[in-house]
Structure formats: structure tokens, C-alpha cells
Symmetry: C2
Subunit: 298 residues, 2 copies
């Protein structure tokens, strides 16, 4: 087919990393510890899944990387803030992330909380200011801010994390509850990444709704695989495996078994790809991304 | 003069409290603890200084309460999130705020952090969605989001809090450093309140720049008075006095003495009012607000 997903991912990642690195410059002033801390986590070597999906969806419908890049990086800033806060001692209490000490392990809790707060706030500043200076229409910028803030706040990601914490150690956690938690905690922002990229690229309503479906299935599959990796381990996760078990956290694989969980993830990947059935070969990166994510090292 | 500042403030406060109360409804679902926590702090009886200033500036230049209210409430949500996070054990470690137990004392650290995160994120959702449904132009909404996020993030409030923490226990803290910290930590968002209200009300550039001056002096005066109240006590602060001293925090009054600090606050109040010298009697609420804040119980 001639489409090299590994090359595609590494090229995209490089573009995104460069932009993110330019965004948060550490100045020589006395108050640079906050910025150092923001920079530490934003450049800690993430997969850049969300901005890559944002770019891929936007390019598919005809947008350019230049126009979509600031918004895709803003989403990565929001994702990064959520990781910093999730890792805090009062939350998941993780000391390692992506093979590196977590933000609060290096900078202390106070600075870590503030770095998360600043990344979240600055993400909206970036969409508002770079969106306009990049030639997006104000109404498009407002729509994107609405999509992203809805996905990230009390109707999305933050509620998902609250639910996740509430389920810890609980008996009688149902599959439905876990799915709801996943769709809030990771699904909503993954969907917003695809939708906002597509909006900027000029997607039609019909394209938007098909891409939304794609993102929904992909997000669910992604989270199940994450939970399987937590049990089976894998070089990718960069933190000690078994974290969920230690925390007595019910997950998809602990409820249905690893075999069934893998089958479900596989089925969801196929559904994600099926959602793109009306699209031509220009949707190949989106399809390959779903395959690639579905085949992460078990 | 016939202008009753106490009545003005209580009427405005009622309008703002009602709107804020409608915004965060606690549902009966299993995941309502996050929303309870958000609601607890947002309705904990703040002075509503920022939204009142936002409304006053906007009405002065000809705007209506209806149009400005959602944005003024979004700013109060951002202010409230900052208080929740500032009170955390790893930050200022305060157990009381406005005469009530702080958020984390009631809901625990994890939920308190998430409630702050959600209030911050939902504030942008509110500006984006209610701004548009309220008939503001998309470009005005984007400008307001830019003003607010710039004032709240790593170039404003969050940096101010980081600097405040960094100065704790430090020798050789200069007056300049304290002023810079104040202008970031509280000044920036107070200024954004006035500027965004004025923008929505349709201010001219010249009006905007005079109002920006007014807000700058008012913010500086406000913070010095806060620091004086922390030493001398007062029913208004609703927390134990002497918190700064216990934390070995250099403040304006500890550096220059209480008498000089009060004189400076008084002078700044006069400068704030002088900034409005070209405005007619319609600016009376803004002037009275400055007097009122300048005369808080020492």
C-alpha cells in the first residue's frame, strides 16, 4: 500500500514536539521554576496520540498542518496537565511516567499542581490567540474551544478521573460503569481531538459524524489495551506494571478476563475502521492509526 | 449623591449568586461528589468582587447585565478554582476560608484538585457557549477568552502563585518583587474582569485604556489592604489572622510598616479614581467601588 505508519507517526511527532518546545520557553527570570516544570512534562516524550489524530482528521478533510497545529498542541497541553494531576500523591500517587520521574517527584507537589493549572489555562490562550493569528474564523475558534472545554471539564475528562477515583476499592463495579468512566476520562478528549481537527479542516456535518464514531470506538479500544498492558506489562507504558491491581482498581480485563478484553479491543478497532467505510484512500492514515493503536504490544 | 453602594453591591451579588447557583447543579447520579465540591466552593459566600467589577465596567460603557453576566460568572469560577488550589496542603495549607472549612478539608485533596480543574475548564466552556447564545460576536468571545486565559495562566495568576510560594521564607524580598507578585497573582485577573466587561459593553479603545489603569491601581490597593487585614484581623477575612507571619511571608506591610502600607493603599485608591477623571456621573459605581474597597475594615 505504500503507507508507512511508523514513518508517518515519527514525522508527525517531530512537528508536534518542535511546536510544543517553542511554546514553553524557559526564561532566565527568578520565576522560571514553574515554566521548567511545565516544559519538563510537555517534553517528556509522549506518543502525541491526540495531536496526531487531530492533524490526521483535519488533513483528511482538506486542512493544512499549519492551521491545525496550534490547536493540536493545545490538546496535548491539556492531556499533559491531566497526567501531572493524575499522578499526584492524593490521586494515583505514581512516581514514574513514560520512564521518567513524575512531575511532582521532581518539582514538588505545589509546583506540579501549578504547572498543570498553567498548561490547562495556556491551552485556551493558545487556541484563542494562535487560532486567530493563523487565519481561523472567530466562530470556528469558539466552536473548537467549546468542544475541547466540554470534553475536558466536569462533563468529560475531570468527571472521568473523579469517577475513576470513586470506583477504587469498590465491590460490584459493572462493565457499564467502567465503560462510562473510560468514555469520560479518555474518550471525550480523544473524540474532541478528532472533531476539532476535522472542524478546522472544513469537514461537512456528515464527515464530522462519521469521524466522531471512529474516535469513539478508537478511544474505547485504546483504554482497554492500556488496562491489559497494565497487567501484562510492556515497554511502552514506562511505569511499573500492576499499578491498577495494587490500587484494587477494577478494570475491563479484571472483569472479563484478558482474553475477552483483547477480543473486545480488536472488535472496537474494527468498528473504528468500519466507521470510515464511506471514505476513500485519503482516510488511510486514520485507518492505519487505528490498526497501529489496536496492535500495541500486548 | 443618592448612590447607595451597599445596596448596589448586595443587588449585584444576588444576581451573580443566582446565576452561579444555576450553573452547577448537583445531579442525583453516582458521580455527583465532584459537582458537590464545585458547588460548595462556588457558593461559599465570596464578595464577588471580580464579577461585580466586570458588570460595573460593562454597564458603564453601555452594556446590559444579561450580556455580561455569564462572562462575569466565568471569571468568578476561575477565581474560586484558584482559591481551592491555593488552600491545598502542599500550597498555603489553609483549613478555613470565608469562615468555612476549605474545600479539601471537606472533600479531600483529590476531589478538591479536580473541582478546581473542572471550575477552570468549565469557565471557558461557559464563555464560549453562553457568550454565543447570548448574542456576543464570535470575535468578541475570542478576545475575552484571550484576555482571561492570559490573565489566569503562566503569564498571570498561576505565575503569581508560583512566585508567592517561591518567596516564602526568603530573605531580601524587595518591594518591587512583592508588587510584581501581586500584579500577577491578583492584579491580572482583576484587570481582566474590568477589561472583559468593558469589551462586552462596547468600550472604545480610549475607555478601555482608562479602565485598565483604574483596575491596575484598584488591584494593587486591594492586595495591600488584604495583607494589612491579615496582620490586624477583621471579620471579613474569615480565616485566622497572622497566616502570612506564620508562613514567614514578606508582605507589603511587613516591609514598610502598617502605617505606610495603609497610606499607600489610600493613595492607590485615589489614583484608581483619578484614572476615571474624564468620565461623567455614569462612572459613579466604579468610583464608589474603589472607595468602598479602599475603606475595608482595617
Amino acid at each position: 500500500m505504500g503507507f508507512d505508519i511508523e514513518l508517518y507517526l515519527s514525522t508527525r511527532k517531530k512537528i508536534i514536539d518542535k511546536k510544543l518546545s517553542e511554546l514553553i520557553l524557559v526564561s532566565a527570570e527568578s520565576m522560571s521554576r514553574l515554566k521548567e516544570s511545565m516544559r519538563y512534562s510537555i517534553l517528556a516524550g509522549g506518543k502525541r496520540l491526540r495531536p496526531i489524530l487531530c492533524l490526521a482528521a483535519g488533513e483528511f478533510v482538506g486542512g493544512t498542518i499549519e492551521k491545525i497545529l496550534p490547536i493540536s498542541c493545545a490538546i496535548e497541553m491539556i492531556h499533559t496537565y491531566s497526567l501531572i494531576h493524575d499522578d499526584l500523591p492524593s490521586m494515583d500517587d505514581d512516581s514514574m511516567r513514560r520512564g521518567m520521574p513524575t512531575n511532582h517527584s521532581v518539582f514538588g507537589e505545589a509546583v506540579a499542581i501549578l504547572a498543570g493549572d498553567a498548561l490547562l489555562t495556556d491551552a485556551f490562550l493558545m487556541v484563542a490567540s494562535e487560532g486567530i493569528s493563523n487565519g481561523l474564523s472567530p466562530s470556528l475558534v469558539v466552536e473548537v474551544i467549546r468542544d475541547i472545554s466540554k470534553a475536558a471539564g466536569s462533563q468529560g475528562m475531570v468527571m472521568g478521573q473523579a469517577l475513576d477515583l470513586a470506583l477504587e476499592g469498590k465491590e460490584e463495579v459493572t462493565l457499564e460503569l467502567i465503560e462510562e468512566m473510560h468514555s469520560l476520562k479518555t474518550g471525550a478528549l480523544i473524540q474532541a481531538s478528532v472533531v476539532s481537527g476535522a472542524r478546522i479542516g472544513g469537514a461537512t456535518d456528515s464527515q464530522l459524524s462519521q469521524l466522531r464514531q471512529y474516535a469513539r470506538f478508537l478511544g474505547l479500544s485504546f483504554q482497554i489495551i492500556d488496562d491489559v498492558l497494565d497487567i501484562e506489562g510492556g515497554s511502552e507504558i514506562g511505569k511499573a506494571r500492576g499499578a491498577d491491581a495494587r490500587r484494587k482498581k477494577a478494570t475491563y480485563p479484571t472483569l472479563v478476563g484478558i482474553k475477552k478484553a483483547k477480543e473486545t479491543a480488536q472488535k472496537l478497532t474494527e468498528e473504528a475502521i468500519f466507521a470510515l467505510k464511506d471514505f476513500d484512500e485519503k482516510a488511510e492514515p486514520l485507518r492505519q492509526l487505528a490498526y497501529y493503536l489496536g496492535a500495541r504490544k500486548y
